[in-house]
């Protein structure tokens, strides 16, 4: 075992982790631990842009952005946090530009902006109550905004002499009596266990898309950070809210950015109808993602989908009416994906798309300064922070708007970095328990020496298919209860898994086994939270409770793991409402 001591340890090298690292001043030691080389992180897959009311293309205001985010969240987002994010957005984007991010530009050399789902302005800016129409708010770099953001942040972290531990897999969080003193990891190249003793730890480990069979998420999106806190007795917030992006490439789930519709693409059913006109008469194809995904499934359910060669159904995303230069200059990646993976030429024929598991609205509950909290009274875990997709501030509530995830990363990554900087000024290293690494060594040797019969890949596939069927876009009690039984079964069988690779060098077989444990724990938190919430709100649609129920459910869920096969415990905390009272959500 190797021991390290750093003032700050950041787990995850995507947008949030890197932005936090950049914020830690020289003179403090800062380690960033990532299971992949930083530029492989999933932030790089974001395409369409990052939201900020710069007003470079047309009049805009951060208050409109705030309203849209609150409404998009189906009024479950905490308005104090949303206010901070949307107000800080303009500064955050300018800062990224100053850091070197190569944005697309307007004719006068400013950062270019495009339309995106759910982002609106009053048709008559002088009359805030006038009809809301789509606004150009998404700041972009062609359709590679996440890629250039990830690279820019990594480049700026290199300048800062942050110490990177790439291809290190964090297996445990060291928390005692609500004080965090570090993490345990293993070096993938050697399987050697490393204990990182720290004054402050930030979890910025990204999402859990791989819980589902069809997902836009990378293979690395295995819910590691969610499982780390859940297994240490800390709560997860609003786990029932899973975003399905409406336009995943059919069969593969690869993301086809909302920017395609922002630039004028439309969705068609098998009758050639632009069906979104019926579901969202004002903004049509630019309705928020939860509504568009539900609309697609409804079209398919009512027989207006296309049947694919594998028996699954899809609708079409039609970009054929877009000028060629828009496809070439503004949407080159996604047109390339359609061409490469399906042999579809988007200039000439529509792209087959279906909803794909995309984003976790829920996650580790934090304050607006990324401090992790452990109960409904917002009590803080000393020395523990979380930011990005793994965290739940909550700015996305029940449904995230496109472009707000990249924004979340840089706004709350930075705020977390600042809060950590303040905290470590006066903090000492909390004592490290002697047995800190024991749980990790036990886990590794149990898996390595197991003589069981269950295969990791078989269990994972089973879980992914069932989660897709039972805890997908539409949910009902019967299905959720089935899934809970399935999860109990999976957890039993997981104890009996066996791997082929017993070596110490780059053992990805072992890693996939540990990741599967994280996925199952995450699936458990999602499913129990979904069963508990007997209403429909944002991305959580209960067929048996089809309406939003503000009287009983305008509140966050906090789920705590219970050991020994007992059901998790769920409590609630109030939503912060400041400027906008809940209203019916129509577009």
């Amino acid at each position: 075992m190797i021991k390290h001591q750093f003032d700050v340890v950041i787990v995850g090298a995507g947008g949030a982790g890197l932005r936090a690292a950049v914020e830690i001043p020289e003179g403090n030691t800062c380690a960033v631990i990532s299971k992949v080389f930083p530029t492989r992180s999933h932030t790089g897959a974001a395409q369409g842009g990052v939201g900020a009311a710069l007003g470079n293309e047309e009049e805009d205001s951060w208050e409109w952005h705030m309203f849209d985010t609150v409404k998009g969240s189906d009024y479950l987002g905490d308005q104090d946090a949303i206010e901070i994010m949307t107000q800080d957005a303009v500064r955050a984007i300018i800062e990224l530009e100053h850091m070197g991010l190569p944005f697309s530009r307007t004719p006068d050399g400013k950062i270019a902006q495009r339309r995106f789902g759910g982002h609106t302005r009053p048709e008559n800016p002088a009359d805030p109550d006038s009809k809301r129409i789509a606004v150009k708010r998404s700041c972009y770099s062609a359709d590679r905004t996440g890629h250039v953001m990830l690279h820019t942040l990594y480049e700026n972290a290199l300048k800062k002499h942050v110490q990177f531990f790439s291809e290190f897999f964090v297996t445990d969080l060291i928390v005692q009596n609500n004080v965090c003193s570090g993490v345990v990891a293993f070096d993938i190249a050697t399987s050697e266990i490393h204990v990182f003793h720290a004054k402050a730890v930030m979890l910025a480990t990204g999402g859990y898309g791989r819980v589902y069979r069809i997902t836009s998420n990378a293979h690395v999106g295995t819910g590691d950070g969610f499982a780390l806190v859940y297994n240490n007795g800390l709560p997860l917030e609003d786990m029932e809210f899973v975003q399905f992006h409406p336009t995943g490439l059919w069969k593969l789930g690869i993301l086809i950015s909302e920017a395609a519709r922002g630039e004028g693409g439309i969705l068609l059913n098998n009758k050639g109808e632009r069906f979104m006109e019926r579901y969202a008469p004002t903004v049509k194809d630019l309705a928020p993602r939860d509504m568009v995904s539900r609309a697609i499934l409804t079209e398919i359910k009512e027989g207006r989908g296309f049947k694919g060669s594998d028996g699954t159904y899809y609708v079409q995303l039609d970009l054929t009416k877009l000028p060629r230069e828009v496809l070439v200059e503004k949407l080159p990646e996604i047109t390339g994906f359609a061409r490469t993976y399906l042999g579809v030429e988007p200039e000439k024929e529509p792209i087959p798309v279906q909803p794909t598991a995309h984003y976790a609205m829920g996650g580790i509950p934090t304050t607006v300064d990324a401090e992790v909290i452990y109960n409904e009274k917002n009590a803080k875990v000393q020395g523990l922070y979380a930011a990005g997709e793994v965290a739940c501030v909550s700015v996305h509530g029940a449904n995230r708007l496109g472009t707000n995830s990249l924004l979340d990363l840089v706004v709350f990554g930075r705020r977390g970095g600042k809060a950590i900087t303040e905290f470590i000024k006066n903090a000492d290293f909390a004592p490290l328990p002697k047995d800190a690494a024991d749980k990790t060594s036990e886990t590794i040797s149990r898996i390595m020496n197991s003589t069981g019969s269950e295969k990791v890949s078989a269990l994972r596939t089973e879980m992914q298919e069932k989660m897709m069927d039972k805890v997908g876009i539409f949910r009902k009690e019967e299905d959720l209860k089935d899934m809970i039984e399935e999860i109990k079964d999976l957890k039993e069988r997981y104890k009996n898994i066996k791997i082929d690779d017993r070596g110490k060098v780059f053992n990805t077989d072992l890693m996939e086994a540990i990741e599967l444990g994280n996925l199952i724990d995450t699936a458990e938190a999602i499913t129990y939270s979904a069963l508990n919430r007997t209403e429909s709100r944002g991305a959580h649609s209960r067929e048996d409770f089809p309406s939003r129920d503000d009287k009983n459910w305008l509140k966050h869920s906090l789920i705590f793991k219970n050991e020994n096969g007992k059901a998790p415990r769920i409590t609630h905390k109030p939503v912060v409402i400041t400027r906008f009272q809940p209203k019916e959500r129509k577009y």
């Binding site: 100053h98 590679r144 990791v456």
Partner: protein
């Protein structure tokens, strides 16, 4: 249909040198990615098969490997893009030390990338708003900024094979990305780093890098622009 993958294997804990192992799979659709097939082998036949992968659609750059002698991303090549009537030969990227199976040690590649100071250098106080840039100037950077650091280019280059000190096309492309950024003030500093026999001038315009790049970046053209900039500043 049946498809055979002939995969180069090497486990440093067991093997004295690499060898090839065949895996024959039943495949339904010729649109399967090579990465899907590698996963099938790992998940159904041999869990010890080791390779890197993450996004699975060509944006993260993890799974650069050699497929039938060409450097490619496993997730961007479909079965129908190769001749699958014969065994498909899968090897690690060349010219880098093998850690295990298809996983190579990329530390030297990253070191050379870091050597060109791959970050914007501008010591003038920034304006309150964004630094203005013409769209045509921004677009000059976009092709280079597409780079995903997969190392397909650098390891395809004969100049790399014959000379360990050559900085390689990926690092030069990154130098271009900043030298030609109108917001950057360190073009000279960066040109100093690459304007030498093991830098720019080791590029003999062989174009292997262009062939290899999964993001279709014309790397040789970008290097030629750097060469021009280096020559022009000397006169």
């Amino acid at each position: 249909m049946k498809v055979t993958l002939r995969i180069q294997r090497y486990n440093p804990e067991k093997d004295s040198e690499p060898y090839y192992q065949d895996f024959t799979l039943e495949v339904q659709d010729d649109r399967e990615r090579i990465l899907d097939l590698l996963n099938q082998v790992k998940w159904n036949f041999d869990g010890t098969l080791t390779f890197r992968r993450s996004c699975a659609h060509g944006v993260c750059g993890s799974d650069g490997i050699r497929i039938n002698g060409r450097n490619r991303l496993a997730c961007s090549v479909l079965l129908r893009d190769v001749n699958y009537k014969k065994p498909i030969v899968i090897e690690p990227l060349p010219a880098m030390p093998i850690i295990k199976d298809l996983v190579v040690d990329m530390s030297d590649f990253y070191k050379k990338y870091e050597a060109v100071k791959p970050y914007l250098i501008n010591n003038s106080p920034p304006p309150e708003h964004e630094r203005l840039q013409k769209n045509e100037d921004a677009e000059k950077l976009f092709e280079a900024a597409k780079c995903i650091l997969c190392a397909c280019c650098t390891t395809s280059c004969p100049s790399t094979w014959s000379n360990n000190n050559y900085i390689g096309p990926a690092a030069l492309l990154k130098a271009y990305r900043f030298v030609f950024d109108t917001r950057d003030e360190a073009a000279n500093e960066r040109l100093d780093i690459v304007d030498n026999p093991d830098g720019l001038w080791r590029c003999h315009t062989i174009f292997n890098c262009v062939e290899a790049c999964p993001k279709e970046i014309n790397i040789t053209w970008h290097i030629s622009q750097l060469k021009k900039a280096a020559v022009e500043r000397e006169t």
